[in-house]
């Protein structure tokens, strides 16, 4: 089940020890697929930058990052893990600041660097505590150690913060919506698809090492999942910027994964191996699926931005006619992320739901209540994600372009109307191929999930540390195969309905007219619902939590002339928690700075005293 490769490494406490177990295999699969596809995509995407940007350095960082990801998810030694973890963070930083001429990009990169180091600080503490208790720096030895509940609880809390920063748990997610949009699209895809999953991997690894955790840990993770998921999708609904919206959706999906892990932990605490395996397997499957569809969506967003030079949803529209391939592939991604049948999102959400319902029927009372809350919030997340992606898809690809600047683009469309789709699209074929591969994988897992589910179920079983029978896997596969059967009947029904429609409509083309505007003659594309107006009812309901603000928009006079309206949703944890903290901190530092002694010798003396202290402490 697990392979360990071990070599001596001349680093204190370090060992060049790599392990391959179901958990690593799963994450490695996601990493390989996504890095491969994003790499192909970048061959088209980076072409305009040839000669203008140091692409060799970029490619080096990219490949180096891929390698470091591989090491992180296979490391079997704390030192090796942390080294790879840090190198990974730094390589990511260089990839994010690709457009380093823009100040906001530099700021986002710096924020990322800060956040990830704060997280790593907690990881140092955590691994120190772990290694101290277990007496070894190797994961497989640690796994046999026993931890007292207090130590286990502390380690788990530190892991939640340390890895949570990377994964984007609320409220430690604030770097994420800045860094992901700042990076070039193939890097955003990798960041969102796999980089934040290394946080999830870390938590999984800790869960695996700590066989027994206090009861509250499962509930805590479930709660974090519910909060991150709901807030993530609500923030996403309020966004106007495409890539920022997708970044918030990553937080939502991380929340879904955390719910799966939480129910898995509850199952493990109460010795319900099947519930536990379902929860973990669902979470892991969602890790894989999210890598696929979020990668696809970010790549699609990249194509849109490359074509139109904007990611502002309120300015886009009608792109389905200009970019037929991208629009279809993006639709696949949108359907997958909403967890709709036919695609992979449904399969993983089904497994998590199944785990939650199974928990509902078998756990003790407080567990039942938590599962109920989990189910309802997962359902709400699904409905909100659907609203959000209907909005995204509707405003980008459908309708008419919303800004007048796009009319040039549309004249181009009119000219190209006679041309074949390939010429019209004019997106590099590498980019389309990369997206098509991801979309194909989404459909493959959606329609033939057996292999993927087996892979993740093995991972779930491995994490649950319980004994599962072969029947348990079949108990999961039975409903899944029924779903697949239903989906095939569904497609047959669609075919029949298409045929019926064809027959009823008969031959000959249908008349084409303008949209019926209820008798209104002068229709302008500005009449269309924008993304902000589409999301308004939901955002207004939650306006306190979302810090929703609206300026202007009041129509005055009998013959109103012009009115502007700006609405924005602010991140409560950024505005309400970290910014005040930061301001206090700056103020404190200023104060300290004023009092500071301005002699260098003083500092040398501090170092000297500390050295003496260390010598006495260690050598006495």
């Amino acid at each position: 089940m697990e392979i360990i490769f071990s070599k001596i490494w001349q680093v204190p406490f370090g060992a060049l020890s790599l392990r391959l177990d179901p958990l690593s295999v799963l994450f490695l699969t996601a990493i390989t697929i996504l890095f491969f596809c994003a790499g192909i995509y970048s061959m088209g995407y980076l072409r305009p930058y040839q000669g203008k940007k140091p692409l060799v350095w970029h490619v080096f960082c990219y490949l180096f990052l891929a390698m470091m990801f591989g090491v992180v998810v296979t490391a079997n030694n704390v030192i090796l893990f942390l080294s790879a973890w840090e190198l990974m963070s730094i390589a990511t930083y260089f990839l994010i600041i690709f457009h380093d001429e823009t100040p906001s990009v530099r700021r986002a990169g710096f924020l990322y660097l800060m956040a990830t180091h704060c997280g790593t600080f907690c990881l140092f503490l955590m691994f120190f505590l772990m290694a101290h208790t277990a007496g070894s720096m190797n994961f497989d030895v640690m796994a046999h150690a026993s931890f007292s509940p207090v130590v286990a609880g502390t380690i788990f809390s530190l892991a939640l913060i340390g890895f949570g920063v990377k994964a984007g748990f609320l409220p430690f997610h604030i770097w994420l919506p800045h860094a992901h949009p700042a990076a070039p699209s193939h890097i955003s895809a990798v960041l969102s698809g796999v980089a934040i999953k290394t946080g999830i991997y870390g938590i999984c690894r800790v869960l695996w090492i700590m066989g027994v955790l206090p009861e509250w840990c499962g509930y805590a993770l479930l709660l974090i999942g519910v909060v991150s998921g709901l807030m993530g999708v609500l923030y996403a609904l309020g966004q106007h910027e495409l890539k920022k919206l997708l970044a918030y959706h990553s937080i939502e999906n991380i929340g879904i994964i955390a719910i799966g892990l939480g129910i898995g932990m509850l199952g493990r605490t109460y010795h319900l191996a099947f519930v536990s395996a379902l929860g973990f397997a669902g979470a892991l499957l969602h890790v894989l699926n999210h890598a696929l569809f979020k990668g696809l969506l970010f790549l699609g967003a990249g194509s849109v931005i490359q074509k139109t030079h904007t990611g502002d949803l309120d300015r886009l529209g009608g792109l389905a006619k200009i970019m037929p391939y991208t629009s279809v592939l993006f639709l696949v991604g949108a359907l997958s992320i909403c967890g709709l049948p036919l695609f992979n999102g449904f399969i993983s959400e089904f497994v998590i739901f199944y785990g939650l319902f199974q928990g509902l029927l078998t756990l003790p009372l407080q567990g039942v209540f938590s599962c109920g809350v989990g189910i309802v919030s997962l359902a709400l997340m699904g409905a909100l994600a659907l609203a959000c992606f209907a909005k995204v898809y509707g405003t980008i690809f459908l309708g008419k372009p919303r800004r007048t600047g796009d009319s040039a683009l549309f004249q181009e469309k009119e000219r190209n109307r006679a041309l074949s789709p390939v010429l019209r699209e004019a997106t590099s074929k590498w980019m389309i191929v990369a997206m098509a591969v991801l979309a194909g994988l989404c459909a493959w897992i959606g329609l033939a999930p057996r292999n993927a589910v087996r892979l993740t179920f093995a991972g779930g079983e491995y994490l649950s540390r319980g004994v599962l029978m072969k029947e348990d896997f079949e108990k999961l596969m039975a409903p899944l195969s029924m779903i697949i059967g239903t989906v095939f009947i569904f497609m047959a029904v669609i075919a029949v309905l298409v045929l019926v429609r064809k027959v009823l409509l008969g031959k000959g083309s249908m008349p084409i007219q303008d949209t019926w505007a209820c008798g209104f003659a002068q229709v302008s594309p500005k009449f269309q619902y924008t993304s902000s107006s589409f999301a308004r009812p939901i955002v207004e309901l939650m306006k306190k939590i979302l810090m929703f603000s609206r300026q202007g928009g009041k129509v005055v006079g009998e013959f109103p002339v012009q009115a502007h309206m700006i609405s924005a949703v602010k991140d409560a944890s950024e505005e309400g928690m970290f910014r005040p903290l930061y301001i206090r901190f700056i103020r404190l530092s200023r104060k300290l700075d004023e009092r500071r002694n301005k002699y260098t010798q003083m500092y040398l003396m501090y170092i000297f005293l500390f050295l003496i202290f260390l010598l006495i402490w260690k050598l006495r």
């Binding site: 509902l360 029927l361 209907a390 509707g394 409903p479």
Partner: protein
Amino acid sequence: MISLTFYILLHWLIVLAGAPLFLGVIPRVKAVISGRRGPSVFQPYYDLARLFQKKTVYSRTTTWLFRAAPIVALASVLMVSLVVPFCVFKAPIQFTGDILLVAYLLALARFFMIIAALDTGYSMEGMGASREAFFSCLSELTLFMNFITLALLAHNISLSRMIGADIPVSWQMAGPALLMAAGSLFVVLLAENCRLPVDDPDTHLELTMIHEVMILEHGGVDLAYMHYAAGIKMFIFAAILVPILLPWQTGNVLQNWAIFCGGMMGLALLVGVVESTMARFRLNRVKHFLLISFALAFFGFIVALWRI
């Protein structure tokens, strides 16, 4: 295999034949209450037949998604109908967790309807789409809360079992919970199918409509598909609600069937009565109405937990 195909086709036959009748009873009831004679209960059949014969006009803004939406919507609800038992006709497709398939297939239909509405590029359809997306979030909450209550009571997560043979026992054990589940499911039925306190299916004042305004641009066969899908959806919700409210099972097949059909008619009657006695809520009150139904469902869940 062949028998399964037969059962599936039989199920579809019931749905396709029954749904327009269900829809036809409601306006008749409303008419009788307001002292008119009203249209024949078979009017929806005539309407559908008329629409099926018509050609359609397409907007030049629209894409293939606009044409695909009615097909996906109808196909989705047809698939959902296979999971729901109609009294003596057992559901052809039943497995652990099929309620999720019900919810997500309906969501698929909704997704396509919303993007088809946005595809027209006009504010009216966008308005309907936005409202539909909003209200369905709230009614989905209630729906899942009720699924949880029913699953707890039946100790199973297959729809056929949840509203099947265990219901009489559940009434004995946790009657109040079931009562509240039924009440909030009725609200979901009204909201999801755009009936009166939430949405007015009869007016053609675009500002007040949700469902009707979304499909404003569809015509001919497409519109017929949309109407059929809406009718079947309502029929399905009613078929889920009736076995909860009328749990009696006699040994006789015919009697059971009569109870079921009577229940369906009674429900249509109830919807008609509600529609003729209630005014449409102001749009910003609808969310409170839906939230109350959620609170009711949640209360049901608590009582179910209390009693178990």
